[in-house]
């Protein structure tokens, strides 16, 4: 059991800076998801924690011990790789016992450990099969078994579910979560799938271009994104982000959108008239209003899915998405007004993207 301390970690590949001074603390026993678009540095950070990547600057501590200069095997970690990285010429038993074999553990100890791990993962009947004789989900379990056998302080997962089909992915997601609840080992999980991150993790860390944009509880990120990047990244379909300028009309503030139309400003926003802002509103927090409203859009596509209806609208050239759980009688080319739920409006400064409410 151990917490992970990451202090101002910098990683350069030649001229390219993959990590620009990342700091975070991962509490003991927690499940942290690193999420972000391709090339944001999440895998580099994971490999740096693992020790497979030498960092250019900064320090990494696991369980209070500085591991920055240690070999991966001396960091007391285990990693599950995207392609599982099972040794194709070893059977399941040998794959799981390889680290112990290298450490010259006695056969009886290997059997005991492998037996325990394979029991947890339901692999007991497959111990003498080769990886190629297993299904994708079973290979995934062997990869986790190999990690469990090492009995590490920290589990590292590098997009372990992205090679599975959609159905199996949901299933394995649940298994990983159950495994964590059972073993309570500090886990770091890299994914580009925000649903995976939200469902699995206690803490989600959103990364972009080598920096941490925001870290927090999944719902906190959803409810109060710190900047437009997190706002657009978390949630599917993504938040509508409309640029505009603040106007005042008596006591009431409102935002005149660049694309045309005016939307009301919620209370307690620290802005002044004339400020450029980004107006963020999630599709589920928009309602259709009458055509006499201040922002009127034209319906371009309607997607009924039974439980909810997704409506894509054209607001003078800007696409806006609206999601309603009641069945809307709308057809393409209809014109409707947009009514935002003021409690769920996010206002960001246009220049540096900081949250203003």
């Amino acid at each position: 059991m151990a917490d992970i301390e990451i202090e101002r970690v910098v990683k350069r590949f030649g001229d390219f800076m993959a990590l620009k001074g990342v700091s975070m603390t991962i509490p003991d026993g927690s499940f942290v998801a690193l999420v972000g678009p391709s090339g944001c540095g999440k895998t580099t950070l994971l490999r740096s924690i693992c020790g497979l990547e030498d960092i250019t600057n900064g320090d990494i501590y696991i369980g209070g011990e500085r591991v920055t200069d240690r070999e991966p095997k001396d960091r007391d970690i285990a990693m599950v790789f995207q392609s599982y990285a099972l040794y194709p010429h070893f059977d399941v038993f040998d794959n799981m016992a390889f680290s112990m074999r290298l450490a010259k553990s006695p056969r009886s100890a290997m059997e005991k450990k492998v037996d325990g791990a394979s029991g947890i993962l339901g692999l007991k009947d497959f111990l003498h099969r080769l990886p190629r004789q297993l299904s994708g989900g079973q290979r995934q379990r062997v990869a986790m078994g190999r990690a469990i056998v090492r009995n590490p302080k920290v589990f590292l997962f590098d997009e372990p579910l992205s090679n599975l089909d959609a159905k199996l992915r949901v299933h394995m997601r649940k298994e990983i979560k159950e495994l964590h609840q059972r073993l309570k080992v500090t886990s770091v999980f890299v994914t580009h799938d925000q649903i995976e991150a939200m469902t699995l993790a206690d803490v989600v860390v959103v990364m972009n271009a080598g920096v941490v944009e925001q870290a927090g509880h999944p719902l906190e990120l959803y409810d109060r994104p710190a900047n437009p990047f997190v706002a657009g990244f978390i949630g599917s379909p993504s938040m509508n982000l409309l640029s505009g300028r603040v106007e005042t009309d008596g006591d009431e503030g409102r935002v005149k959108l660049d694309s045309g139309g005016v939307l009301p400003l919620p209370a307690n926003v620290s802005v002044e008239a004339g400020d450029s802002v980004t107006y963020g509103i999630r599709p589920e927090h928009l309602r259709p209003g009458d055509v006499g409203g201040t922002a009127v859009a034209q319906v371009s596509v309607v997607e009924p899915t039974g439980f909810e209806t997704m409506v894509y609208l054209d607001l003078s050239g800007t696409e806006v998405c609206m999601r309603a759980t009641d069945r809307l009688a709308l057809a393409p080319d209809d014109r409707i007004g947009l009514v935002p739920d003021l409690e769920h409006v996010h206002i960001f400064a246009a220049d540096d993207g900081r949250r203003l409410n």
Binding site: L52, K73, F81, Y87, P88, H89, F98, L102, L130, R146
Partner: protein, 314 residues
């Protein structure tokens, strides 16, 4: 015109389907026949011809007479034959071992190290293959020459005595082995380098996390996975090296004092210096049998050890 539609439809009954299968098989045989014909003409017939004359006293200008196993008895009791066998064993063990070890080393180096102009270096390693063995033998004979060779010039410059690379009693065998190795390395690299670059790098990351040292990664991962390619390359090199002739013939002609007289050179002399074709043919057959036995054994090992438990996919 009216039948047009039915020509593309599947056969209506089994008889028709069977007939079609048979005609297809016949057609594929027809297509393959030129290769069979060619192989028969250039391999099978000469071998049979050689086997036939190995039981005769066939030599130029004399009537052909059946002599039974006399040719075999003749060479088996000839000390020069046993000398050639011994030289051949030294040559094959020395050359093949060095080829495989150096070829493996170069392949792994090229596949795993980061350096500039990778493809240039690969091309450079493969270059000896592009040169005709006869030409490279002549070049090497010049390079290693006692009096005018640049290698001996360097040796002298470094303050040593000139070395009789190709004429020294003890040295010549090492020289011909070195040249043979130099020529064969590209062939080994051509087998092993492409195999090595297909291994996923994550496998080595996983091994690193599991605590494997560089040697353990080679011992437990690289070599077992490379084994099919390694054995295949080994079979080829064994077959080619056992029959080696041209390079050594051009470098030393089998000398000095038969120190580099390989079986093939012994056979060549028997046939084209002593003009005893019957005897030469019997030696050729003996070589064929030895080569086949060795190659079969290695192929047996290869199938037993490699293909039974090494998968290609991850």
């Amino acid at each position: 015109m009216t039948d047009f539609d039915t020509t593309n439809s599947p056969p209506r009954d089994e008889v028709r389907a069977a007939r079609r299968t048979r005609s297809r098989e016949l057609w594929s045989l027809v297509l393959l026949s030129p290769v069979f014909l060619l192989l028969t003409l250039i391999i099978l017939l000469p071998e049979i011809w050689a086997l036939t004359i190995s039981f005769t006293n066939y030599r130029l200008g004399e009537p052909v007479r059946n002599v039974g196993l006399l040719n075999f008895e003749y060479f088996l009791t000839d000390p020069a034959f046993w000398n050639a066998v011994w030289v051949n064993i030294k040559f094959v063990i020395g050359a093949v071992t060095l080829q495989m070890v150096i070829g493996l080393g170069i392949s792994l180096f090229l596949a795993t190290q980061k350096f500039r102009w990778r493809f240039f270096w690969i091309a450079l390693v493969l270059a000896p293959m592009a040169v005709s063995p006869a030409v490279s033998s002549v070049i090497w004979r010049y390079l290693l020459d006692l009096n005018i060779g640049p290698v001996n010039y360097l040796v002298e410059m470094m303050g040593f005595e000139r070395i009789q690379f190709l004429t020294g009693y003890q040295v010549a065998i090492f020289s011909v082995i070195m040249v043979e190795v130099w020529l064969a390395i590209p062939h080994v690299v051509l087998f092993l380098y492409p195999a090595r670059i297909t291994f996923p790098p994550e496998l080595y990351d996983a091994a690193e996390v599991d605590g494997a040292t560089a040697w353990q990664k080679f011992r437990y991962i690289t070599f077992p996975l490379l084994r099919p390619a390694f054995f295949l390359s080994l079979v080829f090199r064994l077959i080619i090296t056992i029959r080696a002739f041209g390079v050594v013939w051009l470098l030393t002609g089998g000398g000095p004092l038969r120190q580099t007289e390989l079986l093939a050179i012994y056979m060549y002399k028997e046939g084209f210096e002593n003009w005893r074709f019957g005897s030469a043919a019997s030696i050729a057959w003996a070589m064929l049998v030895i080569t086949m036995l060795m190659a079969s054994y290695v192929i047996y090992l290869m199938y037993r050890n490699s293909f039974s438990n090494v998968g290609r996919e991850n």
